[in-house]
Symmetry: D3
Subunit: 163 residues, 6 copies
């Protein structure tokens, strides 16, 4: 018996049937980071100090991408997201920018992919806006931090429950 | 004078004007990885041996996402991509799956974002297809490997040219 | 305390969390107009008399755009619209074409933006189909006429309730 | 002979064939405004002073919408835009926010619809972000200011050339 | 009284209002086929034997297209699909490939168009992947096989009930 | 050596590299039909006589779908289409509606898929608009009629050249 719920009996891909699942409140939080040269980080922060655009554009891009998750990830269900938020924080210890996203809805499927997609696209947008200064930036550690709701209940990174 | 070509004179975001740039052949190669538990990797490979779906679906998702780059990244130009390819390779040393993507076109702007977007979305798709088994997976090292063409010429990771 | 519900505590943009709102029937009606030269209006009406295309194409464009509202307006929620209708009426007193749209759903958020987007895109389509004859046309008075449903209840233009 | 180039011989709608047109540099500038209560304008400006989000989000929305013009306006050609810029300026005399957009490319068709779509969607986004405070706002005067390039050459509002 | 529910009182197109309909479980199954030369079918099957790509890519394309139905068919409602599956089977008697799709949701509208769109786009994708070998292929017999749920209840091809 | 140009050396799917191809004028014509009960056809024609909507909406849907071909068909290149036209003709001998589409561009790849996609989506739209009266309709004979341009030159149905 396969544990891969997206794979059918003969191995072919399909969208999992969620019509019998109950609609509960579900939340997912994901994070990631763009690691860059120290002077690129200074540039991003200075740009932000002036007009906030690197941070602001990446935040909007992440939110809009969460709404496109089902268009990007072939077997994701279309969802009526009730909230998406994206936070971007400079971190000298990387050096770089940390990105966190939270998605939630009342529905039949989890929103992990929506939170992860928001993080990934916010990171790609940061790369795009700073790449003229630094093509060597890397996107690192895009991962789920926490999920709540649904049959599998709560999952938190570090507790390693596969809920 | 700002080095951030997406930021206008007062700091506001805009699409860079490329109408005076010449149309040359441009290529970009990007890479990344999904790090997972050893048994998740075995599951992915076994699924692939049967029908190839984790690998196949993620490859298609990456290719289709490259064509959506300008819809996802706010200040990217719409491009007439002439090629996108995505490769996914298991790597026991991670353990996990390595993803590489190549994009090319004859045009006025580079295709770095298209290659990076293909990698990021293929990684997200791998996560989606395996997450029932392992929510702790991480997307790591999404980065540009090489670019060719355009005024700035060739850039390769390790040579640190900011072309 | 901010009255701008799309702005977070530090001023950053986010989608408002609507998961605790109740799902009620919501309706919004919006209107607008394309003002044009008298002969352009005659041309539009004559074209309509023959095959109805200026009117028909703009109506379809408005309906389809309402379904894309959450892709266009960064902080709008994706909605399961239950109805969209668009009406286009010639008005010699402008002279030009008046556009009205009604959107409704049973859901947690209002549909003002969907009705307004339908009107705006129907107006843009009218401009597009007639611009070979008249580049000087103007889109005027795109506004909400009425909304019903939700916690804030009914709002009607002229009563100036900010519901 | 019809002057409506989008209407075929029997009146049915079609995309005009532009394959024989020459690729020249084309520019279009459009404008519009959101008229609001004086206190709403103060709110928008104060929000901008803190983090720039109303202005920043609307600017990004306008730029992204310009890239979607051919998806919204049924008979518009898909275009390889080389630039889109959006400016938003408070104007106490309205009172409200003025929006201007410039689009350009080297190609076979004009970019009037792209500039107008950027303005319209930036205005809709401003409405969305401020509507909790003021549902009575109106979008006014969305119009072409200027176009350059192509067979019909230059057109400027006020000169009334229908090029 | 018109039986065409998409046509309004004066004949203009609109999305049917479904807000008063009850949300029930609805299922639709559709089918179709791509008829091709015998050697093209052998090529497709051999390609599948090696890596499964013609079959795999067409299956993914069909699933993703079902999610885009409301973007493609102007008067279709946006739906929260709970399942889409696509099956592709070689048939020497055509000769060619048979495609079947099932869509389901708990909602207010039927999912016939989603199942038919999945079939049509899977067939187009098969054509695309094999057209270098055989431009003469034909897509045949795209039709509804069965629907369940909703006020009209069950419909099955052959019973000719117009439910 | 594979004749399947979308399949790579190990069988994996990829977009064919067209960057070395020359940009020539390319045209493709495709056709298809929706077969229906005689009374459904009368209904469609009568609806058209009044306001033209079944025909008009399906025509617009076909044109807009052609522009979305590369989003629907995973390995299709994004194209700068220079023309799309869709014709719908009643045919009592089916009985039903015949659909024909022509697509053209000056570019590096053929436009067969764009013409076929326009036909398929126009047929699906006809089905959608008439399905309340007749769920038994069938889409038949979606096929390429003719292509011109490109290295393979002209292909016409009946001459069976595999260009």
């Amino acid at each position: 018996m396969s544990r891969l719920t997206h794979i059918g009996p003969q191995g072919e891909a399909h969208m999992v049937d969620v019509s019998e699942k109950s609609a509960t409140r579900r939340v997912a939080i994901a994070q990631g980071a763009v690691v860059m040269a120290p002077e690129t980080l200074r540039l991003a922060i200075a740009g932000d100090a002036k007009k906030g655009d690197v941070f602001g554009v990446a935040r909007v891009a992440g939110i809009m991408a969460a709404k496109k998750t089902h268009e990007l990830i072939p077997l994701c269900h279309p969802l009526a997201l009730s909230k998406v938020g994206v936070e971007i924080t400079p971190d000298d210890s990387l050096p770089g920018l940390r990105v966190a996203a939270e998605a939630s809805l009342v529905g039949k499927t989890g929103v992990e992919m929506e939170a992860l997609t928001a993080v990934a696209v916010a990171c790609l947008t940061i790369y795009d806006m700073l790449k003229a200064a630094d093509r060597g930036m890397r996107i690192e550690g895009v991962e789920l931090v926490e999920k709540r709701g649904g049959k599998s209940g709560e999952w938190r990174r570090g507790k390693n429950d596969d809920g």
